[in-house]
Symmetry: C2
Subunit: 316 residues, 2 copies
């Protein structure tokens, strides 16, 4: 095991930096760890949105237009399902469905989620190592003004409209850190742990809720570096900004730093937030600015390179 960098990732934003890291870090030295809090069962299928987004992205198969799902997607099944009066709120594409059918079948056969993920990665021609944070099922529940909602109910069916009052990570208390992650955390080559610019509450939070995770990160003695998903009081994508506001936080990288306080050693913020570096450093968290908006693959690799170099500086 020669893992030097462990990247914790949620969906779209995390997948972008993961792709950058996969391009600039040698294959054997990177482990990408995906959030499983968004996972759910739908129509009897086990769906793992973050794992799939990272897989499709690293395979170069992510749909660039809609920002999620797989390229060349078709919608015959969903269209027919809607005609039958079946549930159509979750946008299951025909090709995406194959991933879920395959995964569900393999899990039913007794394979672990990490094992299935490795099989899917192999089938998609991905050499990078991608693992779920745990083989044990976890589920994020969103406490809202309309009661507690399952994550996908909140995120997809309700388009993040209800006001968030809190989050609960079910299953997390009984989840065990994935053995490959545990091994990587003990890797003598380990240089740093990277939190991708994913939603701190919905994507990174559920992973930190797994018993022993925070302690394990600390025990590595290596720097934990987060990339802030907030750029100039806005989140690039998804409900991060809305949730921060609803939870009574300002939408700033400083608030992200405060949320991660005690877990991270450093935060990378966007160039436009350079003036906030001081306040973050005052929290005892190292901080640097970089171009964090990743529009193309060059941007992703550039940010990945900056994070890795920063990690190497911090690790000294």
């Amino acid at each position: 095991m020669s893992i030097r960098y462990i990247a914790f990732s949620g969906g779209v934003g995390g997948a972008k930096l993961s792709l950058g890291l996969a391009r600039v870090v040698p294959l054997d030295e990177l482990l990408i760890v995906c959030n499983t809090g968004d996972d759910f069962d739908h129509l009897g299928l086990r769906i793992c949105p973050d794992l799939d987004t990272v897989t499709y992205t690293l395979a170069g198969r992510a749909d660039r237009v809609q920002g999620w799902g797989i390229d060349g997607e078709t919608w015959s099944c969903l269209e027919s399902l809607a005609q039958l009066g079946g549930p159509s709120w979750f946008r299951l594409g025909d090709r995406d469905l194959a991933t879920h059918l395959y995964r569900t079948q393999r899990l039913r056969e007794g394979a672990g989620l990490g094992e299935v993920t490795a099989e899917l990665c192999h089938a998609f021609g991905i050499a990078s190592r991608i693992v779920p944070v745990s083989d044990d099922p976890t589920a994020t529940l969103v406490a809202t003004s309309e009661g507690e909602l399952a994550f996908q109910d909140y995120f997809v069916r309700r388009h993040c409209e209800p006001r968030v009052t809190g989050l609960r990570f079910t299953g997390a208390a009984n989840a065990r850190i994935h053995p490959q992650l545990a091994a990587a955390l003990g890797s003598p080559a380990l240089q740093a742990i990277i939190f991708c610019p994913s939603n701190p509450f919905l994507s990174i939070g559920p992973m930190l809720a797994i018993p022993g995770m925070k302690e394990s990160l600390k025990d590595t003695g290596k720097p934990v570096i987060a990339v802030s998903p907030v750029i100039g009081s806005q989140a690039v994508k998804g409900p991060t900004a809305k949730i921060m506001t609803e939870l009574g936080m300002p939408v700033t990288s400083l608030a992200v730093a405060e949320y991660y306080r005690g877990v991270i050693d450093a935060l990378v913020v966007d160039e436009v937030d350079r003036e906030g570096l001081g306040a973050i450093r005052d929290l005892g968290i190292a901080c640097e600015a970089a171009a964090t908006l990743m529009k193309d693959d060059q941007d992703k690799m550039q940010l990945a390179r900056m994070v890795v170099e920063y990690a190497d500086v911090l690790a000294r």
Copy 2:
């Protein structure tokens, strides 16, 4: 309950006569009963090929080119599944998949197969009544030169290649006649029971294997009329002829009559087999010839009309 005619049907051939009957018999007077022996679980989905073929056919949605499945079908999911190394021997179309996902979900929710079938018929705009022969799962096992095979393994995966030495209907012994069928069998309006030109061994046989079925048919005191699937020593479609040969029978309507002996009162054979009428009548089975090859909807309606009129003559 004003059911006058009950039609027992398998897949394609049975669906053709079922469509004809649905066009010539008033809606409330016809009950179409489908074989469930071909049903199986695949990728966690409950698949009911005969019910689906009859449903798609009656909805005018059957694919006319390939002779099975639904029109306007697309194959993205199967294509992707094959790329993932998943099982692709069973040709699951994207639109067909919606039917299986819907059915499986409803069964998981506790609905009976008959109830789900009614919902699917409604969604497909079918006013005719279609029921599975039983809500209880049954499965046909094919004893072959290569050992016992699940029906779809034999039929689809192995393209009916292994030599058949026998058939076994698992689940049949514990299956109960569908309540709607039981009620129809007791209908005071009942005129006749019709066995569509389906495979006697694989499609009608599994239904006759349900405890009490043969007795219930006899107890109605009404004629049971089968339409032979054999035309001039050939079966129109499927493995009927091959199986008859392998089971040591001549491929003739006489052999079909002998198989059904004790259950049917009359057999309708094709015009080309008119010379065999005498031998069948010698078995104590009434017999008439008709044009049984159904190439278009007119053929289907014409055969349906003939069978219904024949039934009315026999019922006197």
